[in-house]
Each structure stands twice: as C-alpha cells, then as structure tokens.
Symmetry: D2
Subunit: 396 residues, 4 copies
C-alpha cells in the first residue's frame, strides 16, 4: 500500500475530521509514495541536469508541500453529492510557520485560468503566504480560508493586513469531479496547510491534482528539481506542477513524439485544461529576475509539446527563499542579487525541471473513474518504454 | 426616508430572506436616493462635460447595479460577531439575465489589491459576467458565489465553464468593519446579484462601499457619467467607484485644495486604502481600446489629488456594451471598432466621470461609527461650499 | 542676455564645431538661465513640497543634462533646408564619464511615441547609458550616435556590447520644425553628450524641447525636484520633461483652470503631441519600485489636466543613482532596497515634481515662429498671474 | 550557382547602385534559392502540419520580403573598414506599395534586444509599415531610413505622421562582422525595401541574417508556413526568423538532441545572441489575439531546445493581413474577428512554423569566415541526417 492508497483509504472510510491524524500515520508507517512509486527517471526516460535529493520542489530548503485529497462516490453525477475527485495542494516557500514573505514574480502563457493575488505580487515583488492550487470552482473558498488560517494561527499583523491577498490558482476537473458541487470546504484547505511538509512530495492523483488530465492521460501533481554545480553557485531550482493541459497527439517526452504513438480515443480533441507551475529557488534573485524565471516555464512546456490552447490557463509563479526579512516595514534593507549575466544556469534548470515535472505527473497518476463513469487512463509505463526504445531514447 | 435608509431599515429589521422583496418595495414607493440625496453638482461643485440622465454608470444602456448592505451591531469588536459595516456591490454590463460577454480591458495603477478574473480578461478581451466589489476578506466567498448564482439560474454552459473565472474586487474596511469575521455570505452576494437594476444608483455607505473611507472622510460607492455630442458619436461613458483611498491633505475637488482647508485629526497619516473603478461605455471599442480607457482612470484620480500610495489597490476595469454576440464559440464575427483617432472624447469623458464619481462618493456618504467606536466623519457639505467659494469655484 | 540667447547666438553665428567651447563660455560668463529666467514659483504659482537647490533633476547627485539646440532659417518650409527648430537633450544618471548602469523602470500612459531600449530596461532592470530625447524623425540617428559616442570614448566592453541598446525618446516638432529634413546629425548628439553638466538646467526652447508645444502654448524642456525630510530618508527626486502634449482648455495650473481662461485660437483642437518624462532619485529603489515610480508620473500629469490623447506619446522612465556597481558581470551583489512601506513620500514627490516641471517648461518657453511662419505663443506670465489671483491661488 | 551566390557575386563585384537590377536578374535566370537549395524537409527532417506553396512567410498573401546583403573584405578587423558581414531584411505585411496598416501584437521572451516601434503597436493594435531587421548597431539608421523611404515614395500623411514610429529589430553579428563600423547606410535599407517581393524567400546568410549564428552553427534568415484545413478556416500562418541564438548542446531538431551529437568547439559556451521572429497570418485576428499568437513563438523555440539566455533578445511580432482599412481615421469600422474558441489551429501552426523556420535557417546557412578570421561552420547536412537516423526520426 502506497501512501497515496493509504490516503485514499483514510478519506474513503473516515470523515475529514480524523484524516489529518491518519495522514500523519500514513507517513509514519513508511509507505511514502516516493519510495513505493515509480517516477519518470526510474523508467529510463532521459532528462538533462542533476536533480536534488528528492527530485522535488522541496529540495529548495524550507519549501513545504501539503495536500488534501477528496475521493468519494462513484457513478452518475448528482451535483452537490458527487462523485468527488478533487483536492487542494499548497506550497509554502519558507515552511508553514513562517510569516516572512519571499521575492516573487509571475507570468501567464495563456490566461484562461485564475491565480488570485498576482496583482500584488507584480506590484510589490513579494509573495506573502503560501501558493494554493485547487479546482476552478473552489478558488474562492480556498482564498478566504488562507486568510482565516493565518488568523487562526496568530494575531493579525500590525497593519491589519494578514495575508489578505492570497495566491490561489486552479485547473478544471469537471470531467471527473462534481466541480459544480463545491466540495472543497474551509477545513479541507486548513488540512492541506496544516500537513505541509518537506521531503518527498506526493505526485499524481493527489491534492489539487486529484481529478486532473494531462495530454489526455491522467495527470495531476508532478515535481522535479535541479541543483547547479558549485561553479554556478550551487543553487537549487524546484518545480511543482498541477498538470491538466495538453493534447495527446502533441505530447513529446524527451523529444520523442509519444502522444501519437499511443492510439485510442482521446478525452478531448483539443488543447484544453490548464497547468499551474510553481518554481522555487534558493538563488538570490530579485523580483525582476524571478519574473524572467517564471517566463522560462513556457520553454519547458514547449519541450513537452504544448501549444497552449485557448482553453488553457497556463500560469506560473516563481519565488526565491533567499533574502529573508527583505520585506521590512521601514527603512532600507541589504538584499542579495545574482548578476543577470550569471543567471543562465537557473533559466536552464527551470526549463529542465518543468519538462520533467510534467512527465512525473503523468507517470505517477493512476487511471481514474469519476462522474458518470468517465474514465481517464494513465500513461501506460510499458508502452512508454517501448516507444522510447523505438526512438533510441530509453536509458538503461 | 431615502431609499438608502429604507434599505437600512429592511436589513436591520428583517432577515436577508425578505430583504429582496422589501428592496423592490423601497424602489416602488419612490424614495430613490437620486431624488432625495444631494450630489456634488447639487452643491455647486463645477465639473466639465455633460452627464447622462442619472449621472450614473447606468446611463450606459443595459448596465445594472445591485447592492447588499450589512450594518449590524456597535461597540467593541468581537471577531465573527461584529460590528458589521460591509456589503457587496455588483455591476452587470448587459443586465442580470444576459449571458453575453462584453469586450473589456483592465489596468492597475497600484496593485495592493485584488481583482480576480483579470488574467482571463487580459487574455480573451472579454468580461463574461458581472463585476463584484466587496471587502478584502470576502473576495473568495463572493467569487464562488458568482459561479453558484450562474448555475442556480440556468444549466451549465456547453463547455462546462460557467462564469468560472469571476471578476471580484475589494477594498479594505477593517477600520469600521469586523473584516476578520467573514460576514459576507453566499446569500448576500446572491441578493446583490438578484436586485441589480438600472436607473438611479445608490451612493455612499452602501454595498461594498458601506465601510469605506475616502481621503480620510467617509467614502463608499460613487458614480457619474458623460454623454458625448452627436458629433463625437453620441456615446455614453459611465463610471462607478468603490472609494476607499486617499490622504486628506492631498484632496483636490475641482482643482481646489479642499483637504488641507479642513482641519481635524485624519484617520490615517498616509495614502492607504484602495479604489476600484468600473468604466462602462456603449462606444464600439475593442479590448485594446478598453485597456487604454481603463488607464485614463489614473488621470481622473490625479485630478482629485491621488498619488496612489503603496497600500492602495487602485484597480480599474472598462467594458463596452456594444458588439453583442462578439464572444461566439466558432467562426468569424463582424465586430464594430471605433477609429483610434476618434477616441479622445471617450478618454476625456473617462477622466471627467472618474473625477466626479469620487467626489460623489464622499458627498453621498454619511458619518459612520463602526468597530471599537471608530468614527469616520462625512465631508461636511457646508464647509465644502465655503471652501469652493473662497477659491471662486462655487457655481451659482 | 540669458544663457539661452547666448546659445542661440553661438549656434546662429558659428558652425557647430566651435559651439561647444562657446557654450562653456556662455556658462562661464555667468548668464545662466536659472539666474536670469523666471520659473513658475517665481511668479507665485503655489506648489507643494520642498525643492532641491536647483529645483531640477540635477539635484539628484551625479545627474547631468546636456542640450544641443538647432535654430536656423525662417519662412517657407523647404524640406532638408529648414526652417530648423529642433535639438537633442540628454540626461546622464551618473555623469557622462560613468559606465556604471543604474536600476531603472519605465511606463507608458499612452504609447503614440518611441523610447528605444525599453525592452532591455524592462528585462534587466538596468539603464546602461544616458536617456536621450529628440524629435520623432531623428530617433534613429541619435540612437546609433549614442553607441558611436560610447565607442569614441573608450574601448568596447569585454562582451562586445557597448551601450548597444540606447534609450532614445522623442516628441514631434513638425509644426515648427522641418522634421522631415532630418537635421539632427551624429555630431549634434555628440555635442549634447559632451556638454552635459550638473547644476542649473536650461528650460523652454532648448535641446529636444526647442520646437515643442505644450497645452497649445510654447513648450519644451522643464524640470523640478523634491527633497524629502530626514524622517523619510532625506532622498531627492528630480524630474525632467520634454513637454509637447496637452489641449489648452484642459490645462490646470495648481488646480486652476488656466487653459479656458485664456482665449485665442489654439494650435490644435485636440490632445496631440507627447510628453517624455525622466525621473531620477537617489533613493535605494530596485527596478520593481522604479517602475512604480514611473507610473506616478501619470498622476502628476492628471493634476495638470492631461487626458492623454490618442496622438500622445506619454512615456516615462525612472532610475535610481543608488546602488553603484549593482550591474556586476558575475556573482552576487548586495544591493540596498527601501521598504515598500516607506516609499510613499517618493511617490508623492514624483507627482509633485512632474506637476511642476510641466509648468516650468511653459513658463520658460518663449514665443517661437517656425516653418511656414507658424507661430506658437508662450504662456503669458502676467495673464497667468491674473488668473491665479482670480482663483485666490497666487502666492505673494 | 544559387541565387544566393548570385547575390554575393553581384554585391562583391558591383556597387550597390546596380545591385537591385542584378538581383532581379538573378531571379529571372531561374536559379532561385528555393529551387536550388536544400531545406530541412528536403533532408528528411520530420515536421508536422501542411506547408504553403513556398513554405515561407510569403505564403500569406501580400507579404513581401526584401534583403540587402553586405559581404566585403576579409582578415583582421579594422573598425569602419571591415570585414563586413551584415545586412538588412524587411517584411512588408501588404506589399511595399501599401500604406494600409495591419492589426498586430508583440511579445518578448527575453528582452536583451531592440524592436523599435513596439510601444505604438501595443497601444494602437496596429503595425503601420514594414518590419525591418538588421544588426544591433544599425537599428538607428534603418529606423530613420524607413521614414525617409516612406517620404521619398509619397507625400506625408495628412497628420504629418508618416510611418514615424518604424519597427526595426536587431540581432548582434559582431563575431563575424565589423559591427562597430556602422556599415549599413540609408541606401542599403532603401534597397531592401525597394526589392521586397513575394514568392520564394532567401534563407541563411542573407539580409539581416548574413552574419548571424544559431545554436553555435551558422544561422541567419529562415522561414516556414502552415496552411489550415478548410475545416479550420483554411488560413495560412507564415513565420520568418532572424536566428542568432542558442547554445549548441541544447539544440533539438524534431525532438532529437542533435546539438550534443556533434562534437567540436562551440563558438560560445553560453546561450547568447538573439532571435527576431515575425509571424504573419491572413486569419481575421484582432490585436489581443495577435499578441497571443506572438506568445506561442516561445513554445516553438522551446521545441528546438531554447532556454532563452540572459544575453538573448527574443522578440516576436505577429500581424494579420485581414481587415484592410481597419485603421480608419474617423468613425466606426466593421472588423472581422475569429472566435477565440476557434484559434487553436493557428496557435499550433505558429508553434510548428517557428520550430521549422529556425531549422531552415541553419540548413540554408553556409560556413562563413568573418572578422579576424573567425569562422562559424554550417550545420553539416550529412551528419544531421545520420543523427536523425540514429534516433529513428529521418523520413524517407
């Protein structure tokens, strides 16, 4: 039993009230996904660059990820009842107990989506709380819940403003999930926030990614990281995606036209869906530079074959965990800034980690059946290996 | 009794369930605010340009405005209980029963605020539903409520997407209101949506503007309009503001340095707060042009003395009610576009109506006492007239 | 004889070859404009805030301004011959011998104009050389000349890139000047660069502003500055405008509707023209913050009555002279950053200095006759004082 | 002898004066490049989608391309003398005799470059003249020359504004060319403008691409096109690139990691250089949509392996030749707009044509020796085919 199955079991058999405790238990009994599950590199897919210890966004020190996964019911859709295939994923730049903002920047390749709070990120250069990702129709509840959680965990800030402009993003899971049933509740968001952790990151049908579809295979959460050589500063770049985009016949994996090699009726006949991408680094980048980094995500998605269709909300945010206490209330701060001329290895790392995180999401996801017995199949691992071999791109 | 007082009475004495009916009654008995209340022009403040019939955003045909005003309790703040001084204001471009998007554009002068849904406005050039304005900590509930209201009033759209990226903006009312009590509920948003109407528009302490502060006087909702001469196409431009920004000593009214002429301890010593501005027109502008129009709002605020402080969320959206059915799902549409070289009268109208709407918000607002007996005084009409006379700027 | 007349004399009577020496002489004999000429404050126009020593952009330490003024011929336009009423103005952030870039940001209120090099400012956060302003049809020659001047004064940079993306902006002087005659030559640009200096700044019909029109009065170059109190860091903000925009009946000076109080046939019946605004500060702002500062220029123009017409190129750039050596080629730099929450006095200073610089441009400009005997009258000082008095806004 | 060699011969042996006539002759004697030269598809490189007749940007009806190629001297660099390896490429949206603007939008993936005129494109939604591409230090001369050429070919427009804000872009050829010698003259720009033509487009070491380097192989001009099926409107998308970017070990061709399969000392050890991309279509897109299209170029470059290094000026402009006469001076125009929901085939076509145009630039380019005997080798065709075969991606 993987930790993911453990979570499913917990969620199915118990109310949400005990789920948090059980999730901790799932972790304790040592059946974490990262140990039990296969990732893209495990299959021999060739990627460039050196990953961090977990090949995850959490390789950037301080970053914590939490998930709430809601899987309930089956069969015919009854709005407000289910079936439910959705969740919430959160990313804390400095861990869940920090109140210290991080420098940040964002970018949109195609804006058929929502990421609240970006106007203030753009203006101030700071990301003040966590990044939260859920389904399209639950952005609001998640947004207010972030403020409520902040207030539940400490007094309001002196200014009265307390994470008052949260970052909440979304992709649409209505093919599998009762998205119009508004199943995400404040407590579900609290749970994801409360259980955020470092180390291995759950992938696939988990958190906000639970009901998502990627290149018309089952998608969801994926992650990857790169570490630079000491020559380039030894920095780490981590990427986490909630992958719900892409048209199958465009899918390239490590340059190989995988999508068209796998026959079968696709879910859509179009590039719909969306992808939210969070980029973390410990390199000392100022907001201008982090915006540039966010823009490189497009190039990573380009490698995977994306053309960013009209229906896609392809929205990216990048932050740096360096420069603690930069968001002072008064006076002048000394902040560290990497030379623009030294930034290329970070750009390349962002492209590479994005490219891989998307594939990891598909590799980790399992076939899922949701509303009205809609089924989305997982990318078949054996078939994938066979295709990679055909194009001489399978690593031993 | 003005309609505003009527609304207050209704809201105080009855549950929200019956409030909608009573609001209609308030309207029927003919005590509309526009008749009973004083506006800036009534005081002799000189503004340029010709207004529409109501000097309101609703002079743009089809535009409807609705408000829910929550005023409950007094005395010491008890989070979650009150006092409550808040609300919701909605603006429908084509009336509440239309499902037809409008061309739109947006702009931020200072982004310490939220307007959800703007990423899709920017990308698509369309505003698909209403613009909703509330307090900072209620953006989420209002956002999801817009989707829920859409679904309550008709089946989901064919795509499954149903106003899934609502436009919800905010300003912060925590000086007077228990903003951390999350008092806005889904039903409050429904009420504002259900009761939207054309004709005279409530101003001052109403809707989302209930607890707002403008130039350190009591602020709130304000509106104004301009109609162009037939020579310039005879178009109408309407502006609605939720005014919660400004530093008193910078306030200029019709160019007169009113702020520094009125002594007294200001609320803040800074330009905090925010202002949300909605610009409507029936001129045939395409999205590129509407973005330009939104940018002119800054120039109107400049006339009033704004310097757009760091704490201010000064976010503007402009839409055109022309070009019905432009948001087709397939094929090619003929759309109407005004020549760029003919757009100046619309730009000037936007500046003028913005300048006046801000003043109207202050003129209409009444002194209010909120949490912890915080009191914000209204701009005193007699004193204002005296100052205008001193500078030879009072008409009549 | 003012220094300006001195310049005119030099330029009329001698070749450009000797003009540089004579210009220095003009300065030496002590007839600088700032001493001899009247500025807005001298007339009793009330402005807020404390100016620096010169009430000029050069109050920001290190900033140098240079001008080349070309006034030749009169009567009927003969393209390529004249009459010529044009020039070049340059602003060096750190003085003409520095090669050290400055942090910068830019903004466009209305983009019917050109400022080359902004794409790299936006991307890198740095302004690498001077800001140059000339007429619309001479942007190209000025742009390449900046590179040539850089190469003339030192070996290429190690990268081969040597100010290769210059900042050159323009406004259109074709009502008075033979703009299609391409009269600005490489040497004219060199002269402006070579003669840049600190201290008092020439205003009115000088440099790039020579043939410009502002609010349908004679316009040109104007400047102003503000110094903050030690409580707010003691920083200086300086603004320089090349003012060629505005519609007379909209003109407000210190809030007074001056434009409509002065009868007479206006030049245009529209808001055409353009305004280029350069904002300098010694406050430690990072690029994100300088972009915000540039955006405040709009609010200053709003105070003066601008509605930023379709034909106007209203383009602004802001830079900070703090953080020398921030543009390192490798490694990590410590840079200083003012807290966002401490930035308001700088925003207000930007608004105020912009408001005043525009008026200074008009006050300094003299009536000019150009091609085809087109004449643009200067704003009459006595009439202006009379109007200010009428509205109780003339300071003693 | 290919037409390209013909051009070289003409340019080497004659003054520029006769070159235009000879260029025509080169065309007449039927040795056009498109017939004689190999392109990527000819080698068996697999690309998706259906090309137009010329697989060139000129497949969009009305589009004309002109080049001036300057190749003079060899050996040691003497600034101002040579060796010269540079040129000018121009793209006319509606042919060289049209004065009718086109709808347009632009985007920057990385802004270490220049494209003048974009501020007005962004503001107005129109591209008013040709797109010109040259070397970094000749942008200015080319810019003013566009205005001069416009004036040479007809009276100024009524407004006095005559293509006054030209679009001129650049990439840096200083590794092969005496870029600091400013060898491009007004006449060279005129020649490119005068000789623009439809039909087959010269590629490789031609025009602005003469001295350019792509993925550390010889680069230059490349082009490609896609035509959509009637089901999707039958529209055409054409792309032209001036390719001077990329790091060899990142280069992917049709997904195959070609760069690392070809040993040898690369020119740089970094992603420097730049790429300018022009996208043309006859689909009825409004400016908002053309900006979206321009943004898809990044995804095409992603497929080729770009990570858009700090030193790269990756700037893209897209225009539509539909909607003639949309840029009216007065009144309201009916313009055609494709539904956003129908736009995906155009996005995909943009990605595909970009991907292929870059490869075409490298396939067409020949090994070149420039200043100081710097040599940049062409991508070896045979080796490329061998690599494609190794990865089972060579089409028969």
């Amino acid at each position: 039993m993987t930790s993911f199955e453990c979570v499913q079991l917990v969620v199915k058999t118990m109310g949400r009230t005990f789920a948090v405790l059980m999730l901790v238990l799932c972790g304790v009994i040592g059946i974490g996904r990262a140990q039990g599950n296969v990732r893209a590199r495990d299959l021999g897919i060739p990627f460039d660059g050196t990953t961090g210890a977990f090949n995850a966004i959490t390789d950037v020190k301080g970053v914590e990820v939490g998930n709430t996964t809601l899987i309930r019911g089956s069969g015919v859709l009854k709005i407000g009842v289910g079936p439910v295939r959705t969740g919430v994923t959160v990313v804390f730049p400095r861990g869940k107990s920090s109140r210290d903002p991080v420098f940040a920047g964002w970018f949109t390749e195609n804006g058929n989506g929502e990421m609240t709070g970006t106007t203030w990120v753009e203006e101030s250069g700071f990301l003040e709380g966590p990044v939260v990702i859920t389904n399209t129709h639950s952005v609001g509840v998640a947004r207010d819940a972030v403020i409520a959680w902040r207030l539940r965990n400490g007094p309001p800030s002196a200014s009265g403003y307390s994470w008052s402009l949260p970052i909440v993003a979304e992709t649409w899971d209505g093919y599998l999930n009762d998205v119009n049933g508004f199943h995400i509740k404040t407590e579900d968001v609290f749970q994801a926030l409360d259980t955020a952790h470092g180390g291995a990151v759950e992938e696939g049908n988990v958190g906000g990614g639970t009901g998502m579809i990627c290149s018309e295979f089952k998608g969801g959460i994926g992650t990857s990281s790169r570490t630079l050589s000491p020559k380039y500063g030894g920095y780490t770049v981590g990427v986490l995606v909630q992958c719900n985009y892409g048209q199958r016949d465009q899918l390239r994996i490590a340059g190989v036209p995988v999508g068209r090699e796998i026959p079968g009726k696709p879910v859509w006949d179009d590039d719909v869906g969306s992808i939210i991408v969070v980029v973390a680094t410990d390199a000392p980048l100022i907001p201008t530079q982090l915006k540039r980094m966010a823009r490189r995500v497009s190039l990573g998605l380009g490698r995977d074959g994306s053309y960013s269709g009209n229906g896609s909300g392809d929205i990216f945010i990048a932050f740096s965990t360096d420069n603690p206490k930069a968001a002072a209330f008064t006076g002048v701060r000394e902040v560290r800034m990497l030379a623009n001329d030294a930034i290329n290895p970070l750009f390349l790392a962002t492209v590479q980690a994005t490219e891989e995180a998307v594939v990891n999401a598909m590799i980790a996801a399992r076939t899922m059946t949701g509303i009205n017995d809609h089924t989305v199949v997982a990318l078949p691992h054996d078939k994938l290996k066979e295709i990679m071999r055909k194009y001489n791109r399978l690593e031993r």
